[in-house]
Subunit: 339 residues, 2 copies
């Protein structure tokens, strides 16, 4: 059964339902504009653990268990896990999800991983490979700074183009059969290509990712024969304030004005000026918790009918950066509709 | 269309064909027992590049292009890429595959990634998400030592339980329609769970991965209602000589004797005593190049009719190791049959 559309997109013959979801964040995210929507806000950035990495693992585990608990689904009834994080060799996911005892597909798409996980999860369900799968992603400010930047104790200054890694994890239970509590449905998917404009500034992630977001959104319009107004919102993951301007410009050059529909999870999650987060929030957790807490709620309440959810990722490591490589971007676009 | 079988496996309603493949390795691998089978042996470990990481990226790119070239398939006719490597943030894959301009699913399953990529690639094809997809994985001795161990210049002693990371990349073009040159077919898949026996010795990867290999192989027997003799070979990725003994013992405890059928790519690829590689070869490239060069050839020539290909991965990073964490394992089992 062919489920492809256009040059690189997927149109699911039967929609895949987001049966339940959960979001857990840190205190700073709880203090932000979306604070009231999250399921759980941890006051302790270590979440009772001894290291940032263990804290992030705990976030993933608790988000996963909370999504299952809300859905009243046992973990043995989940066929597969699709999960990832920003840390080298995905240690937040491995150690966070081992106790679930569910077959795991480890994924890495930098901060776009939530889009990759939802896409592959939906492909698995709609392909007949399982009734229910779970998609989990996370990030943690402490573990990400340690992985990519400087020791927190060093207290380095951050340029205004920098983003602030969100401490949080979002978990999504996808299924083939609608339930009363179903939050929304996934009807299409545009997996992204790597796009490299040659930018080397790792403190300006918005600029590195905007070209890939523009490419994925443009391809989605072409493949599904849609215009910006066919979506109530076009929601990128963590482009931030600089990336947003670039994305809108790049798509205008291609003949599409998304300035009315565009929203960015990184801009929404923090109050940049008051919270000293500069260009916005970022990380695998940023788009995940915003989707679970805020975007799905807007769809449930009928404020929006169809959104294009486009988590964005910057593909670098400290090794590639220190060797003088560019920072390419990737963005995966998920079409989510009111059930 | 339900394509599941048993507790966690997939039985493809229509087989997915391995249309073509390619293997590129380094000099040491070329000097080993399988040397005559590889498509290309690079005399220069840097493959003309300035860093180990760029060399590994080049390996991936050339293996991918060679598989396409042998199949006479243009890159624009490949719907999706499924790729991964061992390096933090998958930089070998990102920088190696960017020029292909094909939508990418970045994967991480440590040295099991070849099994994860073939499994998800086959799921995509059999799910109707594309006529042809490409699965690519790699590893490089230099980049892996730098990532996980010591600077090469330090010349540290390695215990006899240690493995030697294979320099190599394997690429596999999967498709829904058989061609004259089709190498083999994928008929089933058992994605693996993380299994953690609490082992903390990163210099004994065989021991850390054997329990997960045993779990995946046992589950495959149960799900497909098969016995060891239903496979001509049961082929693990890189358990090495110590892991092999443990795997056979663990499965004997569960009532299955695979000692006749078992083979390990890591043991086959080097002549351990002459080549000073201790327990065997390892890395995402080890199972990938052995599959492309040797295993598929045996299937083509009719020596074997059906094999269970089980790449094995050790889930650790230097951060998790230095923080005193265990080294859990994961193994993905792919059922490959003569066309």
């Amino acid at each position: 059964m062919k489920q492809t559309v256009g040059s690189q997109s997927i149109s699911f013959k039967n929609p895949v339902y987001i049966l339940e979801s959960a979001s857990i964040v840190g205190k700073k995210e709880g203090d932000g504009p979306l604070g009231q929507y999250f399921d759980l806000i941890g006051e302790d950035p270590m979440f009772g653990c001894k290291s940032w990495e263990e804290a992030e693992s705990t976030l993933q585990k608790e988000a996963a268990l909370m999504a299952l608990g809300k859905a009243k689904v046992q973990k043995q009834d989940v066929r597969y896990l699709f999960a990832g994080d920003l840390l080298g060799q995905l240690i937040a996911s491995s150690f966070g999800l081992v106790d679930l005892n569910i077959p795991l597909f480890g994924l890495y798409g930098a901060c776009s991983t939530c889009g990759e996980a939802l896409g592959l999860g939906a492909m698995a369900v709609a392909g007949g490979y399982g009734e229910q799968v779970l998609c989990v992603t996370s990030s943690h400010f402490g573990s990400a700074e340690k992985q990519f930047r400087f020791p927190l104790e060093y207290g380095n200054q951050r340029p205004l183009s920098a983003t602030w890694t969100v401490t949080g994890s979002g978990a999504f239970l996808l299924g083939s059969t609608e339930t009363k509590k179903t939050r929304a449905k996934i009807t299409g998917y545009t997996p992204g290509k790597i796009v490299d404009y040659g930018i080397k500034d790792s403190m300006n992630m918005g600029a590195t990712m905007a070209p890939s977001a523009a490419d994925t959104i443009y391809t989605n319009f072409m493949d599904f024969n849609r215009m910006p107004e066919d979506y109530d919102k076009i929601i990128t993951g963590d482009l931030g304030k600089i990336g947003q301007v670039l994305l809108i410009d790049l798509l205008k050059e291609k003949g599409f004005d998304i300035s009315k529909e565009h929203m960015d999870c990184g801009i929404e999650i923090f109050n940049g000026e008051e919270q000293d987060t500069h260009a916005g929030g970022s990380g695998c957790g940023c788009s995940a918790v915003t989707l679970s807490a805020f975007i799905l709620k807007q769809l449930e309440e009928g404020c929006w009918k169809r959104v294009l959810f486009v988590p964005t990722g910057a593909l670098l490591s400290t090794v590639s950066f220190n060797e003088g490589q560019t920072v390419p971007g990737i963005a995966h676009g998920v079409v989510i509709e009111r059930r």
